[in-house]
Amino acid sequence: MSTQVVHWPSFLTGSALIIGGSTIAGIFSFQNRVWIVFLGFTCFLEGYRTAQRGRDWLTPLRAPLRGTNTTKAVIREATRLFLMLIGVSIIALGVTKFAQTIIDPSALDAAVAGIYSIGGYIWAHTVLNHGLL
């Protein structure tokens, strides 16, 4: 079992964004305001990236620059960010659907909400962490 030296300022900053973002997403999903839920989960994603990368979050191209040139790295990171935001959009739709299903129950809508939520999560996670889960 490997252990990790945590860069606590980054982890705590990221955690604050994660907690704030999920609070916003949770509250506004019940008001059916998908765009605000999307912003909440975007905040969550940025918090996760901040917590994950430690000091590197201030220099986002440092890791992807290894063994390649700047232009390629910028294009790759911009593409990655775009794809992650698509994943976040799907999650936002899924969680909003989940909340709306609680207000107005439907077995079909609950299944759709589950598939959207986990599908968006797998999409975003694959782009962010290079693994399905």
Binding site: I19, I27, Q52, I102, I103, A110, V127, H130, L132
Partner: protein
């Protein structure tokens, strides 16, 4: 090697207790958090979100030795094709079973959050998190 790491966590009672206790905190927080969000109580939702993230991070540490996954971006591809495949065929049905359990947890959540039943919503929370752990293990050999 990764399988041995997870096995170690299971065989280490302290780590396993920490894993179980912190995921329980996550389930309680998620369950009550959704009920409070349904009731429109933002401060309590914030408290629940704090508990859920703290529980998840501690559970992650208990089974991996890391509070969060490290940055594993590939410097050549946006998406590494290898990341989309599982190592063995047997992993696919286990992963699908885990995801199905997770979605079942959401379905149970719909029923019990609507009833504003904090205790019963944890049945959904347990299925949701248990399903996630099963699917994650099938994909990565680690529980979280």
């Amino acid at each position: 090697m990764m399988q041995l790491e997870s096995t170690f966590a299971v065989r280490n009672p302290g780590r396993f207790t920490l894993f179980f206790a912190s995921l329980t905190l996550t389930s309680i927080s998620l369950s009550s958090g959704f009920i409070w969000a349904y009731q429109g109580r933002p401060l309590l939702v914030f408290l629940a979100a704090t508990g859920a993230w703290a529980g998840y991070s501690i559970a992650h540490y208990a089974v991996t030795g890391r509070v969060i996954d490290t940055d594993t971006r590939n410097s050549e591809h946006v998406i590494d094709p290898d990341a989309l495949r599982l190592q063995d065929r047997w992993r696919y049905p286990i992963a699908i079973a885990g995801i199905s359990l997770l979605i079942t947890g959401m379905y149970l959540g719909v029923l019990y959050i609507r009833a504003e039943n904090h205790l019963a919503t944890n049945l959904g929370g347990a299925c949701f998190l248990g399903g996630y752990v099963i699917a994650h293990y099938a994909v990565t050999d680690e529980f979280l």
